[in-house]
């Protein structure tokens, strides 16, 4: 399985869910100046064909619903990177009435990039770190999600203000 995981970590397709201002850091990361394709990571347009879900900034309740749905459409194994302070503790929206503060209450996050905004260097750094984690088998957020689905569903239902929320019926 070592070879399997090694090859997995060498070919990652990333979907960046551009909310908030984090999206402006992505073009330099993708294009010639920083060139993340050196690490085998290419942007992908649809969640069904992506391995990494990159959440670039704050999430309102309305957006979170779409994020959960996108995340559940991705095929296993899948990895989530929380990008910027907004996904960690709300960032500058720490007391906003309409943004969620801790992303990992709602979907499992494998890696956080701190900063407001993180520079392309730190994004590349996170990708390299994620590659190592995948190769070692530490990036297991998708398994945590499956095993603790009830816990995540409860948290999601709390902000979506419903009795029981299921994004996609099993």
């Amino acid at each position: 399985m070592g070879l399997f995981r090694w090859s997995q970590s060498r070919s990652l397709w990333m979907m960046h869910f551009c909310t908030g201002c984090g999206a402006v850091e992505m073009p330099p990361t993708m294009t010639s100046r920083y060139d993340m394709e050196r690490f085998g990571i290419i942007p992908m347009a649809t969640p069904r064909q992506a391995d990494i879900l990159l959440i670039t900034g704050y999430l309102t309740v309305k957006t979170l619903k779409r994020v959960v749905r996108s995340y559940e459409q991705m095929a296993d194994p899948k990895y989530v990177i929380g990008f910027g302070s907004c996904t960690i503790n709300g960032g500058m929206y720490w007391d906003s009435y309409n943004t969620v503060k801790q992303l990992d209450l709602y979907i499992p996050v494998d890696l956080y990039i701190a900063g407001c905004m993180p520079r392309p260097d730190s994004i590349i750094d996170a990708f390299v770190k994620l590659r190592e984690m995948i190769a070692k088998g530490e990036a297991n957020g998708w398994k945590r999600y499956r095993e603790n689905l009830e816990w995540y569903r409860t948290n999601q239902a709390k902000v979506f203000n419903v009795e029981k929320w299921s994004a996609i019926e099993p």
């Binding site: 399985m1 995981r5 309102t60 309740v61 309305k62 619903k65 194994p77 960690i88 503790n89 709300g90 720490w94 007391d95 906003s96 009435y97 309409n98 943004t99 969620v100 503060k101 801790q102 990992d104 209450l105 070692k136 088998g137 530490e138 297991n140 398994k143 945590r144 095993e147 603790n148 816990w151 709390k158 902000v159 979506f160 203000n161 419903v162």
Partner: protein, 178 residues
């Protein structure tokens, strides 16, 4: 200042003492009217060339128990900005819609309905605009306690403690998939 004084004079003549008019800055004037004169005045101003309703804003005068609605009008011919202000009761905030005068008002009224809880009878589409599944009181009112709501609904992180010691589900056994 000529264009401003001219239109303010006209308003005075048409609506009498109930309309308080005052020039504020260059190219900007305000007209304060009671609620029953709001719709006639807006219709009158539209006929006078103020065809652009830029926005409707709301001020929460909580001490006086009133909301103040401000209709921002702009005239491309006169190059003038008019603020039409009216006060309504805070307990039972209801204003007849102005969609027949300005079609664009539908969205503005929808937003005010969502953020301040003001009712606009006659507006066919007062559904939530930004706040899906909202359960609190309207968030832009001054008596809405934002921090309390956030603490209850989303949970605040205590930054003085280590984040990684927070309670969260942990996989049992070995990591990885082998």
């Amino acid at each position: 200042m000529n264009g401003e004084m001219e239109i303010l004079e006209k308003v005075k003549k048409a609506f009498g003492e109930k309309a308080e008019t005052a020039p504020k800055w260059e190219r900007q004037s305000e007209i304060k009217v009671p609620l029953e004169l709001l719709h006639p005045l807006l219709g009158y101003l539209r006929a006078q060339g103020f065809g652009h309703l830029a926005m409707i804003s709301c001020v929460d005068w909580i001490e006086e128990g009133e909301f103040e609605l401000v209709y921002h009008l702009w005239s491309y011919e006169k190059r003038l900005h008019l603020l039409v202000k009216t006060r309504i009761d805070r307990e039972n905030p209801t204003v007849e819609t102005i969609i027949p005068i300005f079609r664009i008002a539908e969205t503005y009224e929808r937003e005010l309905h969502e953020m301040f809880g003001i009712d606009f009878p006659g507006n066919p589409n007062l559904t939530p605009l930004f706040l899906e599944d909202w359960d609190g009181s309207p968030p832009m009112r001054r008596d809405f306690d934002t921090r309390k709501y956030v603490e209850e609904k989303y949970g605040m992180i205590d930054l003085t403690k280590e984040l990684w010691k927070r309670e969260e589900p942990v996989l049992e056994g070995e990591n990885g998939e082998d």
